[in-house]
Assembly symmetry: C2
């Protein structure tokens, strides 16, 4: 089958590889119906060291179950499923607590040797615990929104949950990528009254406004802080969603949070230490975040996608087939595309 | 009256200053019955720049109301009171939310030009909102425990609350100073099943065990992390109380927290950025903390002190009069004393 591999910075290729096979009774093989490129894929795209064997890519997929291991109970051939960005055993102490990223058998798709979802098919370990069955017919539009449940919508929701968004809150979202935009949806969904999007790309901030953002702040750094303080009567936001992962964006997030507020940092951190240690302390902020416990959130998020109450699939603004995925990476890295859909 | 001032690193003196007077209708003057030296006073004691006018010291006091402004309603001359480490107006939006350190009129005693409690008397702004009346006769022993409610007991409790201590949890406490020891009391009080004290001073860790610590880890840095992992079946602690304020102690705190856990950092941060940005993210930790909302906690903590259910006053191991406070600073800075009581 065809699968996408990265062999070094900027070097993404469509490879021909063996079809995946069941290797454990808890496995399922899914045929990928929709996949996509993630903003987090752009970090290795910018900096990956050369590798002859390469790394499979992709951790977001909607698929159809093609085969299941002997131990799989809740899925059968033909089921439509959402594949969360990592697999979890569903039985360890961390899974039982909902701390899925701490799963003792966690496997991050498209990372560290694991198979990727930017492919025709993918093997999913612990399929019963990992996959979310979708009992609905899905058209093209619905498929894209379902696909965001693999990562970006669940991740934006995680940022909002960790930041402590409550009805009536003023929320700020740092970053106008797909996660930030989904963060706007999540904040609105959780009852935020005012949502300030920090971003400067018109097409993206325009979508943010359609998703529920009430204000757009194009400034960065200290100027962004001043602007948010102006907009919030001098106090800052109750909850801040950090959806970038740089030191500057994290510094801004802490800067614009009000005393007693929360910061949900879901951007993969590309900095050694969380800045503003004293400011966060003086303001008694809660700073949390990490990989979203996707499967844990799907019981809550899937119904809203199925009903059309939220339409996060609108973040996709380009579609490619597997052969053109390298173009998709180039487009996202060059900020010509917000998020690239893959139809294998 | 006599009051303690600091004029530079290592230069603490007993000064003769005018008696405090009511300068606002919301003020009260309290005669200090007990005060003390705080671990946080040792930071300026080590590094304060020279100042001719000096800085008044002390933010912990039990006192008796001597005079009240015309606007004070709930206090009268002769009332025994606990003075929290900072004054708050009780009416601003942050006070109403319990985020007292964010009070729009906050005043930190013994800091930035504010009067100090290491004195015969002190002026307390917003007395009704700031002071906690104690309706009990207090002997010497009770007075010392009441005094810890000004800061260290409330701060240890804050660390435990922010870290999310729940019944049955494994809790780790980094730092065997007075706040760490009170953190042990707080963790026990909130139902922790296992409490691991990271500290190496026998007299202090001994007291920690009396307060409820179940394990003592004298190692530091990476070795401490290994030791705590050994003690917790490889996972780390549900909640970690960071009660020192250095980069190393904060790094250790994050290192020993289990996935999904919380870190309450209450040590005044003497580092620019919170270390272990990636580890905290991968583990989905919540890292919070700051100045404890003391007055907010007193409704909960005071009854337990009055009943003798908790005896945090045991952290005091030396007592001095106002004339001997400089000796008290030397003893604490030299780690000859854990916490020095002042009887004016």
């Amino acid at each position: 089958m065809k699968a996408i591999y990265m062999y070094g910075a900027g070097d993404v290729r469509t490879a021909e590889v063996p079809d995946p096979v069941i290797s454990d009774p808890a496995d399922a093989i899914i045929r990928v119906v929709r996949s996509c490129v993630c903003g987090s894929d752009l970090w290795p795209y910018a900096a990956m060291e050369r590798s002859d064997e390469g790394q499979a890519l992709g951790h977001e997929a909607v698929g159809v179950v093609e085969d299941t291991g002997a131990g799989v109970r809740g899925l059968k051939r033909g089921d439509l499923v959402v594949m969360p960005m990592f697999s979890t055993d569903g039985t360890c102490r961390f899974c039982r607590e909902g701390v899925l990223s701490g799963c003792e058998n966690v496997g991050f798709f498209g990372r560290q040797g694991w198979a990727g979802a930017q492919a025709e098919a993918v093997r999913v370990p612990y399929a019963d615990a990992t996959l979310m069955r979708v009992d609905a017919d899905a058209d093209d539009t619905l498929l894209t929104s379902l696909l965001t449940l693999s990562d970006v919508m669940a991740t934006g929701h995680h940022a909002a949950v960790v930041a402590g968004v409550r009805p009536g809150h003023t929320v700020a979202v740092v970053g106008d990528g797909a996660v930030g935009l989904c963060g706007v949806i999540a904040a609105r969904r959780l009852g935020a009254e005012r949502i300030i999007m920090l971003g400067r790309h018109h097409s993206r901030t325009g979508l943010a406004v359609e998703f529920g953002a009430t204000d757009v702040v194009p400034e960065r750094g200290a100027e962004a802080g001043e602007r948010v303080r102006e907009l919030t009567g001098g106090t800052g936001a109750h909850a801040v969603l950090e959806c970038v992962g740089t030191e500057e964006s994290t510094s801004t997030a802490i800067e614009i949070a009000r005393p007693g507020g929360g910061v949900g940092r879901v951007g993969v951190p590309h900095y050694p230490a969380v800045p503003q240690a004293m400011a966060a302390w003086v303001k008694n902020l809660r700073v949390g975040g990490g990989p979203a416990p996707v499967r844990f959130y799907l019981d809550e998020l899937l119904p809203d996608v199925l009903s059309g109450a939220i339409r996060p699939g609108r973040v996709f603004d380009r579609a490619v087939g597997l052969d053109d995925v390298p173009d998709g990476y180039r487009a996202m890295a060059g900020r010509d595309a917000l998020k690239v859909l893959i139809t294998p």
